[in-house]
């Protein structure tokens, strides 16, 4: 089962605004490690064809790992507004 299928099992209520914003002006200049590309358990971060980091925030599990691991403070991260975001039924 691939990661997208796993996320497809979860219940998400999507907010209109993204809860994660990538400041690519930081990523492309001072970040070497690019940890967001591999620490996210939902694999939401990827590079676009211009090597900029994009985040598919709609599948965010709200763990905060990307924010904690981002050594250059290049992520604006917040919880979605009340009632939005992932809603676990078991966990």
């Amino acid at each position: 089962m691939n990661i997208d299928a796993k996320l497809g099992l979860d219940v998400f209520k999507l907010d209109k605004e993204p809860q994660i914003v990538v400041k690519n002006e930081i990523c492309s200049t001072v970040c070497v490690n690019r940890a967001c590309l591999y620490v996210c358990p939902a694999d939401l971060f990827e590079l676009d064809d211009q090597q900029r980091i994009v985040v598919n925030w709609e599948g965010c599990l709200e763990c905060g790992t990307c924010m904690i691991c981002c050594e250059k403070d290049a992520l604006e991260w917040r919880y979605p507004r009340g009632e939005f975001g992932v809603q676990y039924r078991m966990s």
Binding site: V39, L61, C63, T65, R81, G85, Y88, M90, S91
Partner: protein, 435 residues
């Protein structure tokens, strides 16, 4: 501005334990929970130890929606193609008063919220708190917390109990604690896999209603701090991985974290256990692993910190705790606030009794006893060298080759000399004395 006696930020175990106690004391308490219901944002990678909390709210636990009483504990050290398991069963683990239960948070927290509501607490779901309101701060002092802002609304309270969870966004924005650091944090993520109760009991050799807890260390995290886990629920199992964030950042060749769980499930000793199961949910959560050294000041003018928001969790490798600390800190928060209200003093002096009570209880005592653990477990040899070496040695003891075999003592001695008799091992042993 609307006013209540006490606002609780977050409807997890710490917040609900506080709300239950406060409502029982007749105080006006409002719990603000950002999820659709209590537990909607929570994940457990484990179980609730009962003995530390049984005497707190003793009327609650008889009817609590636990999954299974853990009757058997196992730890597997995983090497390359060989692994060694230590299994411990005791009549006392799941006896008349089970020492620990597995549970699922969405179900458990909703039940707890209902109990708090029955006592008179107001539980408000779908409500994200945006800011802790303060007055009189400045010059590096946080000032008095006088309530919260949520959306366009401001609500005032004599005391705000901040039980917002491990990320501590509100408390750190208000200068009440530090932001979580990678060195002191781990990522836990898991699948809940549905299996019929009878299949679970057959595969894990369990009596009806009993459960198993199984931890794995070694190759599962490729030697990084952390490990794999399997906990049995009533009609599902929780299968997951915990990995230290700093360890992830320090990998020479980084692996995408989510792949560790797929690799874990494909292992020959795990695959038959999950076979035929239906994956029902995938979840992830951060874990505070900094120990007592990272626990912030727990109280101040008009506020208390409780549960994960206060860094109250403890990974001692064989036992992993957090939910018992959360419930106990919520309980003590309720007692402290009720006493402070009665005395008419909710200032820093009036609320100091909270931290005092936690210092006198198992919560800060156990964290203090384990002060050295977070730095000890940064040693990568614990997660790579030893699980491999133990498995290699055990494998050699059980192997008969084509050539005449040496004496057993010689086989053991050879393996021990190869992997255990070194200055590094002596140093590691010396560090472990503080575990």
């Amino acid at each position: 501005m609307e006013r209540v006696d006490c606002i609780v930020v977050g409807g997890g175990l710490a917040g609900l334990a506080a709300a239950y106690g406060l409502a029982a004391e007749g105080l006006e308490v409002m719990v603000l929970e950002r999820g659709n219901y209590a537990g909607a944002k929570n994940v457990t990678g484990g179980r609730l130890y009962m003995d530390p909390i049984r005497a707190l709210y003793p009327e609650l636990w008889e009817e609590a929606p636990f999954e299974r009483a853990v009757a058997r504990e196992s730890i597997t050290m995983m090497g390359d193609g060989a692994h060694t398991t230590v299994e411990v069963a005791s009549d006392r683990f799941a006896g008349a008063q089970p020492q620990s239960y597995t549970l699922l948070r969405a179900r458990f927290d909703q039940w707890f919220a209902d109990k708090a509501a029955e006592k008179g607490a107001m539980i408000v779901p779908n409500m994200k708190v945006d800011e802790l309101l303060r007055e009189g701060g400045g010059d590096g002092r946080p000032g008095r917390v006088i309530g919260i802002r949520a959306g366009g609304d401001e609500i005032g309270a004599d005391v705000t109990i901040v039980a917002e969870g491990v990320l501590g966004m509100l408390a750190s924005a208000a200068g009440l604690r530090a932001e979580p650091a990678a060195r002191d944090s781990a990522l836990g993520f898991k699948e809940v896999i549905e299996l019929p109760a009878g299949v679970i009991e057959d595969r894990w050799r369990l009596n009806e209603g009993e459960g198993a807890a199984h931890l794995f260390m070694g190759t599962v995290t490729r030697g990084m701090l952390g490990g794999g886990f399997v906990y049995t629920n009533k009609e599902s199992i929780s299968v997951g991985v915990v990995v230290g964030m700093a360890a992830m950042l320090n990998q020479a060749e980084p692996v995408e974290s989510y792949k560790l769980l797929d690799e874990f499930k494909e292992l020959p000793q795990i695959a038959p256990l999950v076979k035929g199961g239906t994956v029902a949910e995938y979840s992830a959560h951060a874990i505070a692993e900094g120990g007592i050294a990272r626990v912030p000041k727990l109280f101040g003018d008009g506020y208390l910190l409780a549960g994960d928001a206060a860094g109250l969790s403890l990974n001692a490798l064989v036992t992993v705790r957090g939910m018992d600390f959360a419930i106990a800190s919520g309980y003590q928060a309720a007692r402290a606030v009720a006493a402070a209200k009665k005395a008419g003093d909710t200032s820093v002096a009036g609320l100091a009794r909270y931290e005092r009570a936690l210092r006198e209880s198992f919560v800060l005592k156990d964290l203090e006893t384990s002060r050295a653990i977070p730095r000890i477990v940064e040693n990568p040899r614990l997660f790579m060298h030893y699980p491999r070496a133990v498995s290699k040695l055990a494998e050699s003891v059980f192997t008969i080759g084509a050539q005449p075999s040496p004496r057993l003592a010689k086989t053991v001695w050879k393996g021990a000399r190869r992997d255990f008799l070194s200055l590094a091992t002596l140093k590691d042993l010396w560090s472990l004395r503080k575990m």
